[in-house]
Symmetry: C2
Subunit: 209 residues, 2 copies
């Protein structure tokens, strides 16, 4: 009976935490971190202030928890799947990833943009804690692409004039910029054109294609 | 004497308006539009509320005036100079423009990012008035590059496989993304690498180089 009560409390506790995270995440994605107040989060999640502080020390701690969720979901659901087959051809994996990012923007109806990019634009100059965490995930993203390009070079798929780190930086930049323009114009054709040009760009380095 | 009084009032009036614009512009560039309150603007510009409403109907009207300033300055000081010589070679003009954007980020010490891109990221989903105005200036920017690419084609500098509009979209996206990554990493080398890769990308289409 005691066991049951504890387990129920834990479940309820987890739900409350999740309700807060879910509401805050949605608000921050649309309105930004600074423009989302704790009161907005409490109202949207229907959670009292005392209950909030049982789960999070501050709005900042809540923000970091949301960032961790976005990062984990991006790495596991968007980035990793395209690179999961160790036998796969690296350039095909990169192209698969470009298409995947395009599809996500299509599914989102060009709304919301890139959650990581939005936070980077908003907070890089005003919040060092967010800036350094965001820099880490962008660095992991770039590293994954850099590795794929090194592997492509080992396999003889790209030439020695391909500087993997610079190419990876530009691919990340191109995607972030394309997502921003798509969010601005509300036109998925902009993103399609950009992804098409990114594939043309990649082909500069491709050997024996 | 009456004339003098009026002229003095006008000058003072203009200075007040400019003081408001200058303070608000600085605050919005760092903290975003929504997170900059009218009280912040009044405190920073040392202008009273009544005086503010003599010059602007609302925070929104102030925002549009700032946007108009940013747009005019971008078009006149960053974009146009590289394309001012009607005899200039269009691809060289585009490369000049890429270098110019890089230099501006270097001068800004990787702080602030692109004022237009920041506003587009913040407001595209929550403020239709800003979104449509921002879409117009990005469209003018892309159009300038598209025109240069058409001219390059007419001169036989690029091949028929170059789709000017798609290339122009990707150049704008690449720059916006590169500026964002530079703001995030605080490392101008990221921007240098991206601009280097954008030039490689442009060279895909170049004939007789």
């Amino acid at each position: 009976m005691v066991q049951m009560t504890i387990s129920t409390k834990t479940r309820v506790g987890r739900s409350t935490r999740e309700a807060i995270l879910e509401a805050a995440s949605r608000l921050i994605h649309v309105h930004g971190y600074n423009h989302t107040s704790l009161d907005d989060v409490l109202r949207e999640s229907d959670v009292g202030k005392g209950n909030f502080y049982y789960h999070f020390k501050s709005k900042e701690e809540l923000g970091y928890a949301i960032l961790d969720q976005i990062i984990a979901s991006f790495l596991a659901e968007t980035l990793a799947p395209c690179f999961s087959d160790p036998e796969g051809r690296p350039l095909a994996q990169i192209r698969c990833f470009l298409d995947r990012v395009l599809e996500i923007q299509r599914e989102q109806n060009c709304v919301g943009g890139c959650a990581l990019g939005n936070l980077a634009a908003e907070l890089s100059d005003v919040h060092e804690g967010f800036r350094s965490r965001l820099a880490l995930v962008f660095s992991a993203w770039r590293e994954r692409l850099t590795e794929a390009l090194h592997e492509a070079h080992r396999r003889g798929d790209v030439g020695g004039d391909c500087r993997p780190e610079a190419v990876a930086h530009f691919l990340v930049a191109g995607l972030e910029g394309a997502i921003l323009l798509t969010k601005l114009t509300k036109d998925i054709a902009v993103m399609e054109q950009c992804v098409g040009e990114m594939k043309r760009y990649l082909s500069i380095y491709e050997l024996g294609a």
